[in-house]
């Protein structure tokens, strides 16, 4: 029971685990960077309607998104009429053809038949605009569409 412990025996020093967090963080960062979350920042209101007869949109990379709705608060300058949004920009119906063409160009040839266009349209949009979009899609032969909805029912 000596008051002063002898410093440092002959035992092996413990392996420092201080770098383990670094390794874990490296993994974390790798996954954070490698995960692509494809999400357009929306410039429009996008309150989707609800429906019960829904099917899941699988194969995210084969989906082209077209958004429509009235411009949100921050983009009041664009008017109050419903607008189409492609990628990050407001667009006119005539821009859809080139949008579809550019999307198709990024896909492999054998995937083209499975491409599906998801229409994310705000509840309060006029059907006129939706019809315009559909007409443009028909012109470029992008016939598979999906009216994206929430699950549930709007029935009162």
């Amino acid at each position: 029971m000596s008051k002063f412990k002898k410093k440092g025996g002959n035992e092996l020093p413990a392996i420092s685990t201080a770098s383990l967090p670094d390794i874990v963080f490296m993994l974390l960062f790798f996954f954070m960077v490698a995960t692509v979350m494809r999400d357009n920042s929306l410039k429009i209101k996008n309150n989707l309607p609800s429906a019960s007869e829904v099917e899941k949109l699988e194969k995210k990379n084969l989906v082209m998104f077209i958004y429509a709705g009235a411009p949100s608060e921050a983009y009041k300058g664009a008017g109050t009429e419903s607008r189409i949004q492609l990628n990050d920009k407001f667009a006119e119906p005539k821009d859809i053809a080139s949008f579809i063409a550019s999307e198709r160009a990024t896909k492999r040839e054998e995937e083209l038949d499975y491409l599906i266009t998801a229409l994310k349209v705000d509840k309060e949009t006029n059907m006129g605009l939706v019809s315009d979009i559909e007409q443009e899609l028909r012109k470029v032969n992008a016939l598979k569409i999906n009216y994206t909805t929430k699950k549930g029912s709007d029935m009162k």
């Binding site: 420092s16 685990t17 201080a18 383990l20 967090p21 390794i23 874990v24 963080f25 993994l27 974390l28 979350m37 309607p49 609800s50 429906a51 019960s52 007869e53 829904v54 099917e55 899941k56 949109l57 699988e58 989906v63 599906i116 998801a118 229409l119 994310k120 349209v121 705000d122 509840k123 309060e124 949009t125 006029n126 059907m127 006129g128 939706v130 019809s131 559909e134 007409q135 899609l137 028909r138 012109k139 032969n141 016939l143 598979k144 569409i145 999906n146 009216y147 994206t148 909805t149 699950k151 029912s153 709007d154 029935m155």
Partner: protein
């Protein structure tokens, strides 16, 4: 004064904290899967479509304020599915058009058989998207009910359940037999909902 070295902070548990964070985020992150009603647009063709008998067409018109005019009569959205269901499953056809599996009223003034029955939904430019989707959903729902009933009778399981089974990895995953059954049910009650351009 004796030189004192600062005590070393034990960093061994840092890894545990980092792992805890990693696992927490792994568990809580839900990658949102979009879902919606799938449909196909008609291709643009030069040829005029074949003329259908009026009794085989079920017309649904929507006004700008979301009111429904079904077969020229004002109808509440609550009754739409039942009305569509009765129309599709009517089976009033004779001879070649006879429907052997329909359980409807066999009204000669309504549709011949589900394969000939067409639901036509029209709207004006001012109709809102929300009510339109609700109506479309009701119409699609009528087909689902009929398909379920048919599948239940023939294969003793519901159509919805069959569709789930073929997508879920397991004994029936992508099985050809199940696919044939699903196609057969779809063939019996093809979902023909025509969406006309607004005038």
């Amino acid at each position: 004064m004796a030189k004192r070295s600062a005590p070393e902070v034990n960093a061994g548990s840092m890894a545990d904290i980092a792992f805890l964070l990693l696992i927490f985020f792994l568990v809580t992150t839900t990658i949102a899967v979009d879902s919606g009603i799938n449909t196909k647009l008609p291709p643009i063709t030069e040829e005029t479509p074949p003329i259908k008998k009026q009794k085989n067409i079920f017309t649904v018109q929507m006004s700008a304020d979301g009111q429904l005019l079904v077969e020229e009569k004002l109808m509440d959205i609550k009754d739409l599915r039942q009305a569509a269901l009765e129309f599709i499953d009517n089976g009033g056809g004779q001879g070649d058009d006879k429907c052997t599996y329909c359980s409807g009223k066999k009204d000669p003034k309504s549709s011949d058989n589900p394969k000939a029955a067409v639901i036509s939904i029209t709207h004006v430019r001012g109709t809102e998207y929300g009510p339109f989707i609700t109506a479309y959903d009701q119409l699609a729902g009528a087909y689902t009910i009929l398909r379920n009933k048919y599948a239940q009778k023939k294969y003793n399981r519901s159509f919805t359940e069959m569709e789930v089974a073929i997508k879920k990895p397991g004994s029936e995953y992508l099985s050809k037999k199940l696919k044939a059954k699903i196609d057969e049910v779809k063939e019996a009650y093809p979902r023909i909902i025509s969406k006309a351009e607004p005038k």
